[in-house]
């Protein structure tokens, strides 16, 4: 039987082509199911991306005393950069640092007033530090308190982010839970619908199965082409879903850019980068589902 696998595949393609009208419903159903799943994936990616956007806005601003030389600041910068917790360090010149400071405290009129009263810019050059992970900020703050740094630092601010970060993590967890539950429901409904469609397709071909049995075909001899045909259906629908999904991504890309503003996020290239992760398991899933659903559906008609 295994020697004839090529013949089986050839015949399965032939049957697929000749029964395309019958398989159309199955294909459309699978496309719809996959499309909904991918829609949920997009939703999940966007949730994570927007949380990322917020996290990216978090940083530690370190304002040095005006008497600190640029060389000193740079040497501190390079020392910070090698820390495992640090994602990147940005250097700001004196006057940019003032602008940055004003921007950061734009909701705090008292501080702005105080600044205005001073004729001189009280700030020296500054560094803006971003950590790899939210929890790394604490470590970095502790390091900055060490004497080798502390003496040069005029002020550093890390707002009261902590509270905010906790909330952010909480709601991102919640969002993930909700998408997970919706995904499970969708997958479950998808499986049921695909099972039923395959069942109906095979039901309409029950007479063929009877004829095959009549000429002495064994159950596996009958089953294999049916299973292969369902797999072809599944793969066909899968490919078609991808072909439809990319234009869809291109269409929503401008909307996403608008939504995530200055955060440079491209959904299309995200899908390109994670192509195998996203579509690989869908492929495996669809193939397995095709096999199981066709085997279960055909079982009934193989008796006698």
């Amino acid at each position: 039987m295994f020697f004839s696998i090529f013949r089986d595949i050839k015949i399965a393609f032939q049957n697929f082509y000749r029964n395309i009208g019958l398989f159309l419903v199955t294909i459309i159903i699978i496309i719809l199911a996959l499309f909904s799943i991918n829609l949920l994936i997009v939703l999940n990616i966007l949730t994570n991306a927007s949380i990322d956007v917020i996290k990216k806005k978090i940083d530690i601003s370190v304002y040095f005393k005006p008497e600190t030389s640029q060389d000193q600041v740079f040497s501190i910068k390079s020392r910070l950069e090698v820390l495992p917790e640090v994602e990147n360090v940005q250097f700001l010149q004196k006057k940019d640092a003032l602008l940055w400071f004003q921007k950061k405290h734009k909701d705090d009129p008292k501080i702005l007033e105080a600044l205005q009263e001073l004729d001189d810019n009280p700030l020296g050059d500054s560094l803006i530090i971003q950590a790899k992970k939210i929890k790394d900020y604490k470590t970095i703050l502790n390091i900055l308190d060490e004497r080798q740094y502390k003496n040069f630092i005029y002020d550093k601010d890390f707002g009261d982010y902590e509270n905010f970060i906790d909330q952010l993590n909480l709601s991102s967890n919640k969002a993930q839970q909700i998408t997970l539950i919706i995904s499970i429901i969708f997958i479950f409904i998808g499986i049921l619908v695909i099972f039923n469609t395959v069942k109906i397709t095979i039901h309409t071909r029950r007479e063929e199965i009877g004829i095959m049995k009549l000429v002495g075909a064994t159950n596996w001899f009958i089953k294999i082409p049916f299973i292969l045909e369902t797999i072809i259906c599944g793969i066909f629908a899968f490919s078609f879903c991808i072909i439809l999904f990319y234009p869809f991504l291109y269409i929503i890309q401008p909307l996403i850019s608008g939504f995530l503003e200055d955060y440079n996020f491209n959904i299309v290239s995200y899908f390109n980068r994670h192509f195998l992760q996203i579509f690989g398991w869908q492929f495996v899933f669809i193939v397995i589902l095709s096999i199981i659903s066709s085997i279960l559906a055909i079982k009934k008609y193989l008796k006698v």
Binding site: R7, N15, E208, V215, G216, A217, F221, V304
Partner: protein, 226 residues
Amino acid sequence: MILFKNVTKIYSSNSTALKNINLHIEPGEFVSIVGQSGAGKTTLIKLLIAEEKATEGEIIIGGWNITNIFEQEIPTLRRQIGVVFQDFKLLPKKTVFENVAFALEVIGASSQKIKKIIPQVLKIVGLEEKANYFPEYLSGGEKQRVVIARSLSHRPKLLIADEPTGNLDSINVQEIINLLLKINQFKTTVVLVTHNREIVNTLKKRVITLDRGIIVGDQSKGRYVI
């Protein structure tokens, strides 16, 4: 070739299809089974191809006692029997060639062998020109000839035809019967179920008459009596 020993088939308490049938058909015979509708003819055929199991008695085909045949052995049995039914039973999405090829693929024939045999059997039934037609483009008589070609292709020792001419007009009927006779000449045992009086009377072969599940006649050069 075929031996029925006290075979009874009861479908349900109010439907007894065959009662205590004793029957012996020799290899190479041509036997017609006649009887009115509901007499039990199709049931007899179904027992032969193990589509139904006898309620009582024993059935032996070619020395093989199939009374309690295992599910997995049924394909082996059917590969040795050619079956022709009234309703043609062709695979609709396969061409004439592929329909016949299917029976050969089932027995594991190589594709070279298939390519060699099919033109031969299609020639026997006079359809070599229509090898690439789909069943829907064939007439009833042609369809039935494809079925016969299919049941011939694997050289069965037994060919069973259940009212093969039931859906055909008289010219086609004669063609089919001639084919069956030709097959019989190649030493294949033929069992023909029919209620066509004319056919039976011109055949001048053995006739078994069934009536309400009982054999009421068995003549070696029989006529249609009921």
